[in-house]
Structure formats: structure tokens, C-alpha cells
């Protein structure tokens, strides 16, 4: 069979792009990170993406991924279904999250959930717990957690969240330069509120980020360029 190390090797611009099934050699005691499995001592890529390696760890930064909820994450959810005493929220994950009435906004009576949050409403909430089957429960009890009534919601690739906004500087600059209220949630959704012109300015910046994020041929320079774009 074709050895992928030759085909998926470094492309001359610094980043090694691998496809599922590519052999990455022996682990040599390094910690195995995201997107890699070990079979008979050999590391195999299970995702399409760029290899990120250091002396301690090797992982793959995927080109596409879905958000995986973790307790404590701030997320922006959209109400998908309502029952008598709970709401189902789309949180951009493979599974809908539950918002029980006891953790919902304000006071609501049994059977009156629809009057508080109806299908299509957007809320800012936090992941309360995630069980072993990836079911998650969210809460709206907390500082700043509320229904989103104004502005718009934009999405950015969840796997780029850490690279782009980990230090908070890029987000601060984005807010100050565009005069917008921006809330970045961990599930890759961004709530942007402000004047129409400033909102469109943020949207155009994010659109360029999304376009550039497909090109992971050189990871470091991509992040630099995107950070400059955001700023």
C-alpha cells in the first residue's frame, strides 16, 4: 500500500498535512494528542489536518471539527424544541443540550416553558455537566447568562478558537476597533452587537478568517495572518 509519509509529508512550506490512515511512525514515548491513535506501537492519523509536534506531545490540528462540550464552557445555543419543563438547545455540537426549567431564565411554571423561550430563541448559557454519552445539561443561572435579543450570531471554526483567541488580546482589539459588543462562546459562536456598520465590519473580518482557515499549509503564518486580520 502507498506509504503516506511520502505523499503527506512536509510540503516545503513547513506544515505536514496528513490524511486519515497516514502512518506517523513510532510514538517514542511522546504523549498522543488529538487525532492520532496507536496501533502496534505505530501512530496513525485519524483526521485530516496538520501535524503539531513537540518533544513531549504529537497531535493533529484538524481542518474541520465539531465542538465537543465540556463542563464550564460558555456556549451560545438556539432553542430547537420545547417541552413542558425543559428546552432542547442546539449548541453547535453533535448532540443537543438540555436546559431544564430549574436552570432556565427567571421564573416559569410547568407547561409555560414556551412563553419564556420559544423555538428559534438564542441564549447565552454555560455547560453544567456532560455525561459519558456526551449528553450535556446547560444552565442560565450565572453572571451574564441571558437571552440574546439583539445583534447577530456568527460562527468561526471551533478548532481555531484556541490559536486565535486564547490570550484574549485579539478579541479585545476586535471590540475596541469596531466599537461592537462581542461575546465569544467556546462552541465557535460569536454574538456581535452594535451599530449596523460596525457589525458588518466584524462580519467581513470573520469572513476573511473563515476563508483563510481552510489553508493550513503553514500553520504558524496562518495564525499570524489571521490574528492581524482580526486586529
Amino acid at each position: 500500500m502507498t506509504d503516506q509519509s511520502a505523499l503527506g509529508g512536509r510540503d516545503g512550506r513547513g506544515t505536514r498535512l496528513v490524511t486519515p490512515g497516514a502512518s506517523l511512525g513510532a510514538s517514542e514515548g511522546r504523549r498522543i494528542g488529538h487525532g492520532i491513535v496507536v496501533n502496534d506501537g505505530q501512530m496513525i492519523a485519524v483526521k485530516l489536518g496538520a501535524v503539531v509536534e513537540s518533544e513531549q506531545e504529537i497531535s493533529i490540528l484538524p481542518t474541520h471539527t465539531r465542538y465537543t462540550p465540556r463542563p464550564g464552557d460558555l456556549v451560545i445555543g438556539v432553542v430547537e424544541a420545547v417541552q413542558s419543563n425543559l428546552w432542547f438547545l442546539d449548541i453547535n455540537a453533535p448532540f443537543n443540550a438540555l436546559l431544564p426549567m430549574s436552570l432556565g431564565p427567571g421564573k416559569s411554571e410547568f407547561g409555560g416553558a414556551r412563553h419564556v423561550l420559544n423555538v428559534g430563541y438564542t441564549v447565552l448559557c454555560r455547560i453544567q455537566e456532560v455525561d459519558e454519552t456526551h449528553s450535556s445539561v446547560v444552565t442560565m443561572k450565572g453572571l451574564g447568562l441571558r437571552r440574546v435579543d439583539s445583534g447577530i450570531i456568527e460562527e468561526i471554526p471551533p478548532h481555531l478558537m484556541n490559536s486565535l483567541f486564547s490570550d484574549g488580546a485579539a478579541l479585545k482589539l476586535l471590540k475596541s476597533t469596531t466599537d461592537c459588543r462581542v461575546v465569544l462562546a467556546d462552541n465557535g459562536r460569536m454574538w456581535i452587537d452594535g451599530s449596523p456598520s460596525s457589525i458588518s465590519s466584524v462580519i467581513s473580518k470573520l469572513e476573511r478568517v473563515r476563508t483563510m482557515s481552510r489553508d493550513i499549509s503553514n500553520l504558524d503564518s496562518m495564525i499570524e495572518v489571521i490574528q492581524a486580520e482580526v486586529q
Partner: protein, 241 residues
């Protein structure tokens, strides 16, 4: 000698009607990321076949009764467009498309790490725009690229190729006439790196020796198609030189 009458499809020098040798496959072109709204997508132009695959998910599985508590469900839908063949195909599911959807899902069950997404669903849509024999193979190959493009964790890429028998001679990658008038057909799905077999069907009769030749032809065709798949994924994600 032939399946239907004595249609001569290969000459005494081993050249087929379209000029290929017995082990040669038709020209293949693969492109990834062609549908922006899908999580992953790909198109495969394999000889006269034009197949598009799109992947959505993992997502909440509906209706709930199809959910598996320990893994994701692969929901494959193979469909031929009404205009894809010379005779119009009645739109909608039929026995053949159900069968191909089922075997495709079972082939990918071996490589997709479904255990990472319990209770969810990964939807794979395969649409045949133009058909010229071997659409299930082109569909599986396209779906494999689309799955990788969607970032679905999978242990290997799957490539599917078919060999068959015409005028008593085993040949690789049958075209329309060879498929219609040939005597046997052996489509296979193989993991590109490990060489594991994930899908095999046989239509018609092959002797053990002929089966071995068809097997070898299919295995020999995997590497060049695999290179095209990798190239397509790299081009789509900015990794091409």
C-alpha cells in the same frame, strides 16, 4: 463466448474496445470541498461516471429509535439522478439504491470511529450525476474523501474498484459495454494504507484463478487512486505545493 451474444470487447493482443489494457483503469479525477454548505464533500469523475458525495454531521439522530447508545449511525443515501443514464430513472429509492446504500454504510462502519459519537448520526449523501458502470465504487471513493474532508475520525481511507470478466478474460474497471455484456463483476472496497478488505461483492462466476487475478487487479489500482485522493484533500485545504 460473451455474456449476451458474442460481442467482442477485447482483441487478441489484450487491448479493450476503449484502448485500455486488461489491468488499466479509466481516467480518474477527484476534487474535495466542492459543496460549501456541507461539512465535507467531494466529487469523483471516473471515466464516464460523475459522482458527488456530501457528508453532514455528526448530528443528533432523528427519529430517536435509530439511535445507538454506544456509537453513531451511518445514514448513507445513494441515489442516481433521473438523467444519469440513457433511460430515465424513476426518482426515489429503489431496491438497487437501498442495497448500495446498505453495503456502503457497512463498508464505512469498519473505518469510521463511530464509537466517539454515541447516539448521533453521520449522514452521507451520494448522488450519481452521470453513470457509466462502477457507480457504487466511484460513490464509495467519493464518500471516503468527503468523510475525511468533514473531519470525521476514521482509521483509513476506503477506495473501491471493480474488476470483471469479458470474453473469458479478466479485466480491471469495467466500462458500460463491458459491464452490460460481460460475464462477471467483482467490486471491492479496500483500506488504502492497511490493505484491509471492507467490502466485496461478486456478480457472475469466476474460477479461483480468475478471482485471484481480479483481486490482484483491484489491489493494484488502489495506490494510484489513493494518491489522487490525498492530492484532492491537500488542494482543498491549502496543502498542495
Amino acid at each position: 463466448m460473451g455474456g449476451y451474444g458474442d460481442v467482442q470487447m477485447i482483441d487478441e493482443n489484450g487491448k479493450r474496445a476503449d484502448g485500455r489494457t486488461a489491468e488499466e483503469i479509466r481516467p480518474v479525477e477527484i476534487n474535495a470541498g466542492i459543496i460549501p454548505v456541507a461539512d465535507g464533500s467531494a466529487e469523483v469523475i471516473w471515466g464516464g461516471n460523475h459522482v458527488i458525495a456530501a457528508v453532514y454531521g455528526p448530528m443528533e439522530a432523528h427519529p430517536r429509535k435509530i439511535q445507538k447508545q454506544d456509537r453513531a449511525v451511518l445514514d448513507v443515501r445513494y441515489n442516481m439522478a433521473p438523467f444519469s443514464t440513457t433511460d430515465r430513472i424513476r426518482p426515489g429509492f429503489n431496491r438497487r439504491s437501498r442495497e448500495i446504500s446498505k453495503v456502503t454504510a457497512e463498508a464505512f462502519d469498519s473505518v469510521v470511529m463511530t464509537e466517539l459519537y454515541p447516539r448521533s448520526k453521520i449522514r452521507i449523501e451520494i448522488e450519481v450525476i452521470t453513470a457509466e458502470a462502477g457507480t457504487r465504487c466511484a460513490g464509495i471513493t467519493a464518500a471516503s474523501v468527503a468523510l475525511a474532508d468533514a473531519g470525521i475520525p476514521m482509521t483509513d481511507l476506503v477506495i473501491s474498484v471493480a474488476s470483471g470478466k469479458i470474453n473469458g478474460v479478466v479485466v480491471c474497471d469495467l466500462n458500460k459495454e463491458e459491464d452490460n455484456y460481460g460475464e462477471a463483476d467483482l467490486p471491492m472496497g479496500v483500506c488504502a494504507n492497511s490493505g484491509d478488505l471492507v467490502f466485496l461483492q461478486m456478480d457472475g462466476d469466476l474460477s479461483p484463478e480468475e478471482f485471484q487475478i481480479a483481486w490482484d487487479y483491484n489491489m493494484g489500482a488502489i495506490a494510484p487512486v489513493h494518491e489522487l485522493m490525498i492530492d484532492a484533500l491537500k488542494r482543498s485545504n491549502g496543502g498542495a505545493e
